[in-house]
């Protein structure tokens, strides 16, 4: 039962991160999105945990939300310094991280006390979600171009270019989720 709940929560978060899965079509940009998500997720969770529960809920929510937006701004500035070309190609997409449902959920985790207790756990899960995002981006680049490179300027999608487009992201993610269900069912049956 708990396992099922965990799976549903994981799937709900993956769906909440759908825009990032769509934009991550190479190792370079998936690294940028993954690192930014991890940073924003950690900052938001820490701010939500830091404030005392006695403070009015809506103020905590507002402060946490603004912190998420500031964290995105800081992350974007760092990416701009490291790789201006990468920043120019992804900056508008990077900003939506502070508006994604998983971040909003963390910001509003003051609603219930038990949600607050989960915040710590969510912070750890942020690392797993970022890793999944980077893996998905790398897989898309590999299928689309037949190779994986770290530099954005040398990527050429010549093998199966549709996978690098939004169409490919939707279909690949749908097939992966169905595949995971299929294999987990086989494993479950094997255990029984």
């Amino acid at each position: 039962m708990q396992n099922n709940e965990g799976k549903n929560r994981f799937l709900a978060t993956v769906i909440g991160l759908l825009p990032l899965f769509l934009f991550s079509n190479s190792l370079a940009n998936s690294l940028a999105f993954g690192a930014t998500f991890l940073f924003v997720n950690t900052v938001t969770a820490l701010v939500a945990l830091f404030f005392p529960t006695e403070l009015e809920k809506k103020y905590i929510f507002a402060i946490t939300l603004f912190s998420a937006a500031f964290a995105v701004s800081i992350s974007a500035s760092i990416i701009r310094i490291i790789d201006p070309f990468l920043y120019e190609s992804i900056y508008s997409k990077l900003f939506i991280i502070s508006f994604l449902p998983p971040i909003f959920k963390l910001s509003s985790s003051e609603i219930l006390k038990r949600e607050r207790e989960r915040t710590n756990e969510e912070m750890m899960l942020g690392f797993i979600y970022s890793s999944v995002l980077i893996l998905f981006g790398t897989l898309r680049e590999f299928i689309a171009s037949g190779t994986v490179v770290l530099s954005m300027s040398t990527i050429s999608h010549t093998f199966l270019p549709i996978i690098a487009s939004p169409v490919g992201a939707f279909i690949l993610l749908g097939v992966i989720i169905a595949g995971i269900r299929f294999f987990s069912k086989i494993i479950k049956e094997g255990n029984e």
């Binding site: 939506i96 509003s108 169409v167 490919g168 939707f170 749908g174 169905a178």
Partner: protein, 186 residues
Amino acid sequence: MSALGIAFYIVFSGNIFIQWALPVDRKRTASSSFINFIVFLGTTVVSSVLYGVINKYCLVPLKLETISPVIFIAIIYGIKSLLDLISKEDKKEVFEFPYDKRVLFLVLVLYVIALTSYSSCNSILELFWASICCSIAYVVSNDFLNAIIERLELEEVPENFRGWPIRLISAGLMALAFSGTQACFF
């Protein structure tokens, strides 16, 4: 770009539903009633125009584009305060910001509409028009996908594909149709 050009570009090439992967509104928040749609449209236009103007005349000249998410949250809070002020006579808030999950999802949609409108327009009038086109295109595409999913429920979809996988694959096929139109004209 002419008004017709902006509308055509935003509906087919820059459709936020496809380009930004927002097919998660299963409850049709924006189109559940006519009043909801009008409120959604009004909020979209105000937030997009404000965001575009602040970005163009303040943030970009000062090279402060990186703080644009903070500005957008401030705009949304401003609109919410205004709506609360208008509905003060009823003594109830228009929406409870931190608690209504559907509203939280709409903030993401509003931000994406503001970004898309800003990136494809130069004047305030164009921003106004683009945000209207963008929101109508989003609502129509979302309802279109929901209709496809409802129709698919009558079919024998393999068990592993039921739910999100078939929804994502349907969205992908819709995106393919939009990409085809984009390839023909742009």
